[in-house]
């Protein structure tokens, strides 16, 4: 609470009003929605968290990656494997999944940060594709292209909070999302978060000020992976089924696009995710050719609003 008040104290109070309002909307909205739209809302939170995590790396640190799905998939598969194949409880499974995510981030980070620019894009993509191939081929553990079925949702053991109901589960996901969101905002405004932006703006300046640019990029990579991986855990609970698609390049690219659409801030990445998820569902309700709609939308945004939505709003 102490930190929250400090956060509120600064000139970012406008940001906080905006965040407070949107949280309120997400709290109230499900009361007026049917099951289908509640699950759409859950998807906005899951992909929103995924995109916000990626935003730390791609937008804050200036290291766009095409392999962020590696963390999402690792979180989702690790939870599923622990629950279904190892028969562990939910608590242990979550801890194992978080450990797996951090381990992947720590190892991949060393490998990918040898490179920059287009090479960074390709090495992150390559590593994620390796995980994708493992998920595809290692039938006995991952279920291969049939996916991993039988993932269960946790039970909080509270009579007033039942996660087997649509609303109960929604608020569970929302709670974790809000905590993660606040943590990300604190990190973004912290001394460490500021160094990420410094790395993006000028590596030479940073090293001549005495910063180890590599180390700060590495921290950004791990923090980014952690939150995107956490989104994968939420996804596994939500979907109760994990497939190689959760490790796909499509997901990584979508996450990057959400960040661009959002205009480069963490809150913006969430906004981008909301728009993409909603547009997907609405377009697919209207037409079978919804992929065409998405493609056109991507092109329009990249050509006419390369700075994304939130920067357009700021200019007004």
């Amino acid at each position: 609470m102490f930190y929250l008040r400090k956060l509120l104290a600064g000139k970012s109070s406008a940001t906080f009003t905006a965040i407070g309002t949107s949280i309120l909307v997400w709290v109230i909205l499900p009361l007026f929605l049917n099951h289908y739209w509640i699950s759409v809302l859950i998807e906005t939170l899951v992909y929103g968290l995924f995109a916000m995590g990626l935003s730390v790396l791609a937008n804050y640190t200036g290291l766009p990656s095409l392999g962020q799905a590696a963390f999402f998939g690792t979180g989702a598969y690790a939870l599923g494997i622990s629950l279904v194949r190892l028969g562990q409880g939910q608590g242990i499974s979550v801890l194992l999944s978080l450990a797996a995510i951090i381990m992947i981030a720590v190892i991949f980070g060393v490998l990918v940060l040898q490179t920059k620019g287009i090479y960074f894009l390709f090495i992150t993509l390559g590593l994620a594709q390796i995980l994708w191939a493992i998920a595809w081929k290692w039938q006995s553990v991952t279920g291969g292209d049939d996916g991993l079925v039988g993932i269960t949702r946790p039970n909080l053991g509270l009579s007033w909070w039942n996660l087997s109901t649509a609303n109960g589960f929604y608020y569970f996901i929302l709670t974790i999302f809000i905590l993660a969101f606040l943590a990300l905002l604190v990190i973004a405004k912290s001394p460490l978060g500021r160094t990420f932006v410094g790395v993006r703006e000028s590596e030479v300046r940073m090293s001549c000020l005495g910063y180890n640019v590599w180390l700060h990029s590495y921290f950004a990579f791990i923090i980014s992976g952690f939150f995107s991986g956490l989104a994968g855990i939420l996804f596994a609970w939500y979907n109760m089924f994990v497939a190689p698609q959760q490790l796909s390049m499509t997901l990584s690219a979508e996450g990057l696009f959400m960040g661009i659409l959002g205009g480069g801030t963490i809150g913006g990445a969430f906004l981008g995710a909301v728009i993409i998820v909603l547009l997907k569902h609405i377009a697919s309700l209207v037409t079978d050719h919804w992929l065409l709609v998405m493609g056109a939308f991507y092109i329009i945004v990249i050509v006419y609003m390369p700075q994304g939505l939130s920067s357009m709003l700021q200019r007004r």
């Binding site: 930190y3 400090k6 956060l7 600064g10 000139k11 604190v186 990190i187 405004k189 912290s190 001394p191 460490l192 978060g193 500021r194 160094t195 932006v197 410094g198 993006r200 703006e201 000028s202 030479v204 300046r205 090293s207 001549c208 000020l209 005495g210 910063y211 180890n212 640019v213 921290f219 923090i223």
Partner: protein
């Protein structure tokens, strides 16, 4: 052998890019608490020399000693931690951050708190106070929340220098600090540099010969990567060979 704890000593420093000998056999020593200017025509290797000293370039041969310590193989950040600060010929600031954020980022660079991720950066009072004092002193208080990229060129140059200074370097490398500045801005900056020299050793590359003569106690002329002449401003001013390379450049 010169004083071993001199802020900067280079011994036979050389670097080549392919066949081009950019800096050749430069043996140089800076004296503590003095303004030392490096001049020379374009392509003389002045900025390359700075890049070698600050560690952005690796030497091909020779050694560099900072404050008595051999740093030839150390990284730029390790040298910065020893107390080397620098500015850049092409302004190098954090364009997308505000002036205050720029200064805080530079100020925290030598503190362990730079790894703290659970507290708001501006809650570190000592650093905020330091940054605000500096902005006041430099007339930037009004521009505290201005994005660095929106500042005028002159202000950006000053911010570049402020970034180097707030980390309190013992040796300051200024790469053409007055480039692109108006006459009035140049005069202001000249005064600022003169004041700075009371606290720190300054090595400056200066294209504006008049500024160099006005500020420096000692001047080194680089030409084609080598030390061509070295002495007091008066000695350099009357050196006919120096005149020749400068005039030769203008005629070309």
């Amino acid at each position: 052998m010169k004083n071993l704890t001199s802020p900067l000593i280079t011994e036979n420093l050389s670097v080549h890019f392919g066949g081009l000998q950019a800096v050749a056999d430069v043996s140089f020593a800076a004296e503590e608490g003095m303004i030392h200017a490096i001049i020379g025509p374009n392509g003389a290797g002045k900025t390359t020399f700075f890049n070698l000293v600050s560690g952005l370039l690796q030497t091909s041969a020779g050694r560099i000693r900072l404050f008595g310590q051999d740093v030839t193989r150390l990284s730029p950040q390790q040298r910065a931690t020893l107390g080397v600060g620098r500015t850049f010929q092409v302004v190098n600031i954090f364009s997308g951050l505000t002036v205050l954020e720029n200064l805080l980022l530079a100020a925290q660079s030598q503190k362990n708190m730079k790894f703290v991720f659970y507290r708001r950066g501006t809650s570190y009072r000592a650093l905020s106070v330091k940054a605000r004092e500096m902005m006041e002193e430099w007339g930037f208080s009004e521009k505290s929340d201005t994005l660095a990229q929106s500042l005028s060129h002159g202000d950006q140059r000053q911010l570049d220098l402020m970034l180097a200074l707030i980390a309190e370097p013992k040796l300051l490398l200024l790469d053409e600090p007055t480039a692109g500045l108006s006459r009035a801005e140049t005069a202001t900056l000249t005064e600022i540099i003169r004041t700075l020299s009371l606290k720190t050793t300054i090595l400056m590359i200066e294209h504006d010969i008049e500024v160099a003569f006005a500020l420096a106690k000692r001047i080194t002329v680089l030409y084609e990567g080598r030390i061509f002449a070295d002495g007091s401003p008066n000695e350099i001013r009357i050196d006919p060979r120096v005149k020749e390379i400068y005039l030769g450049e203008e005629e070309a």
